[in-house]
Symmetry: C2
Subunit: 422 residues, 2 copies
């Protein structure tokens, strides 16, 4: 009897996580035709790992080949994702055992977990428990995170498309504010994602390819915020270029580790903290230097912007999904496909396998030599690293002027077990 596969999406979704799902499902279907004794259906967890715990499985075999192919250009998580971290085996052993119970009930022999370093930790623990229980389960992680903070891989699928979106947006807003600076807005701030690692902020810097081109200042979570040095730099920019465009990481903090986002704003009753760091930083400039500002908060727009995805990113997202299935069929367990860079220019890459235990819970920050000595911009080394990741376009089809994205049927597999509380 062939074993079925279980696939789940985990954590914040991206513009290309469904391209990985597409890679998994298309490759599994291909193998199922070739080796019908080895692999059967792919079940997806509805809302991620919660779908496994609650036995809420989606039968992807009921989706047409066309719809599965359309996942490649559809943002978000087609089966739902969740923010739900399984803790240590000691604390939550019942949950891990429940997973195995569900897998057993549905003949699941392959577990694919598409997420960040938390999820790789979960996948690793599941593989350990399966071994302990003598349950034959191949566990393969699939990298995904806009934060680009996974270890051992050249980059993380999802990141390149955010990078392309923020660099494009910053370039475009730069043209706008440059036009308006004489009589109106002189300061523009774009707040981007990145609580601990400044990769997305650095990517904004790709928009600046010559002296004076925006953005002029990047504020990284790796560099404690120094208001005086920052204001001096803003003043210089406005004097030299007539305006100043700034990108800031949501995780910007001061030397004591306090988030700058927490410093500016309270609600009318003084109790709740509102506003983003982009606004706090912009308001600081207005208060101290008197310039009118505009600010933008890209929020979900940046990670959902499939319309401006990087072709490289889409190809890599698909490739890691495909490689995960290939690895699983070769009985490789507790591994994750990673992207290995062969050369910068022209960019060449290949897929390799890394062990989950070396990826779980490790956070890759920006190397210091990717940030300019003064802390306010990226270096040439960083540009060499980032530039290939935003290359190529892969526009989705448009219908009636809008991207035509897939909505799956997501039909549930009949339950076989008693309910389980999560």
């Amino acid at each position: 009897m062939p074993k079925n596969a279980f696939y789940a999406q985990s954590g914040g979704v991206t513009a290309v996580i469904n391209a990985s799902a597409c890679g998994v499902i298309e490759t599994a279907r291909e193998f199922a035709r070739q080796y019908p004794d080895k692999i059967g259906k792919v079940y997806a967890g509805r809302d991620g790992i919660i779908g496994a715990l609650t036995e809420d499985l989606i039968d992807t075999s009921l989706e047409s080949a066309t719809d599965i192919a359309r996942l490649r250009h559809t943002p978000g998580g087609a089966f739902g994702s969740c923010r739900y971290k399984l803790k240590s085996l000691d604390e939550h052993r019942a949950q891990y055992e429940r997973l195995i119970e569900v897998f057993r009930a549905h003949d699941i022999g392959y577990f694919f977990y598409n997420g960040g370093n938390d999820s790789m930790d979960t996948a690793w623990k599941v593989s350990q428990l399966a071994a302990t229980l003598d349950f034959p389960l191949v566990c393969v992680g699939i990298p995904k995170t806009v934060d680009n903070d996974l270890a051992l891989t050249d980059n993380c699928p999802g990141f390149g498309s955010v990078a392309k979106y923020v660099a494009t947006s910053m370039r475009e807003a730069g043209f706008d504010v440059a036009s308006m600076a004489r009589t109106s807005t002189r300061i523009f701030v774009l707040e981007v994602m990145g609580r601990h690692a400044g990769w997305i902020t650095a990517a904004c810097g790709l928009a600046s390819e010559a002296e004076g081109e925006p953005p002029h200042i990047l504020l990284f979570p790796e560099i404690p915020f120094d208001p005086d040095a920052f204001l001096t730099r803003v003043k210089q920019c406005v004097e030299r270029y007539g305006y100043c465009a700034i990108a800031v990481s949501e995780g910007l903090h001061d030397a004591d580790g306090r988030l700058i986002a927490d410093m500016g704003v309270k609600d009318a009753f003084g109790h709740a903290q509102l506003g983003g760091v982009g606004q706090v930083v912009a308001q600081l400039v207005k208060d101290k230097l008197g310039h009118k500002y505009h600010w933008a908060l890209a929020d979900y727009l940046q990670r959902a912007a499939r319309h401006i995805a990087a072709r490289t990113d889409v190809e890599q997202a698909y490739a890691v999904g495909r490689a995960a299935v290939e690895a699983a069929l070769a009985r490789q367990t507790a591994v994750m496909p990673v992207i290995r860079r062969v050369s910068d220019a022209p960019y060449a890459w290949e897929i390799a396998l890394a062990e989950l235990k070396h990826i779980a819970n490790v956070e890759k920050k920006m190397p210091r030599d990717f940030i300019a000595p003064d802390g306010f911009h990226l270096t040439e080394a960083c540009r060499r690293y980032l530039s290939p990741l935003i290359e190529g376009e892969d526009f989705p089809p448009f219908v009636r002027g809008l991207p035509d994205y897939a909505r799956l049927k997501n039909i549930a597999v009949a339950k076989k077990l008693a309910a389980f509380e999560v």
Copy 2:
């Protein structure tokens, strides 16, 4: 002796105002070759009308045909714009006379003013004064505004591209939040431009093409905000669909005309108003219904997003620039080319001329029958009107993964007059 032309960009810039500039300059060059006794060079005002007042003129004849052609796909204002309104002829007669003096000094016989209804008012007044002073000047307005609030034209160049951007962004963010709703974010709010008219907010609604598709709620400046009705609707959406996606106009206000943006947030010292209406509305949902939210503030990104411009919009922006020059050469003065809709589906349009005096200072709001009876969505009539405006793509060329936009040389014409304070 041929007369030169003066062209200026006014007010907030757009993704396609340079396409109008391209239409003006290419058409003027074409006519100058054909009728060298009629039209000479095109001078552009550096930073808009301020460039005329300060005699800071840019000689566009020094730009290559290639660079002028590239304006068609470059956002922002290539010559700079300004927020500077000339007041009444009585109050500011000296300024109007200065304009005429500069035009006389540089042999300018054609005045093209590319802007919104304020600018059409200025162009109209300049035409009146020129007539009074017996100065031979043809004044032609060129429509531009993301707000879509100009009278007598089917729509305003600049609006269609913002509409396509916000509808695309809303659709994409909708896919994201739908994926996350089970355990995390259930509310997503996108704040868009529109102080008095809800056209951009309505355009977000194009993303919803079937029952349940996001956005679920649109908050228009034309409809006084009713918190209770709004919260009831949010509650329904979360119950039915698991989440709720909302688009809100920056100009949303209550029944007494107070801006909702002013209600939520003060800075840490209680004196400055910060935050956007998007956040106030989202925080209201959190406070009353307890749902986690995300919000995005598109700000300049929406009006600068040339990468996702609507092809129809680019074509119309170019066409009104071209038609302005044709009208001027035909000695039509105090007019503005307008877009006349011939049919909805398939969309067909043509260019006509309207008189500036009927456009100046008139603000076109959303008709009430474009807004659903309950005030929270658009109607089919509105969809029929809006849908053609976002049709077609016109992606710019990309180099190194980023849109390749034109930066002109912008070389100044030698001054001939004494300085003038603005």
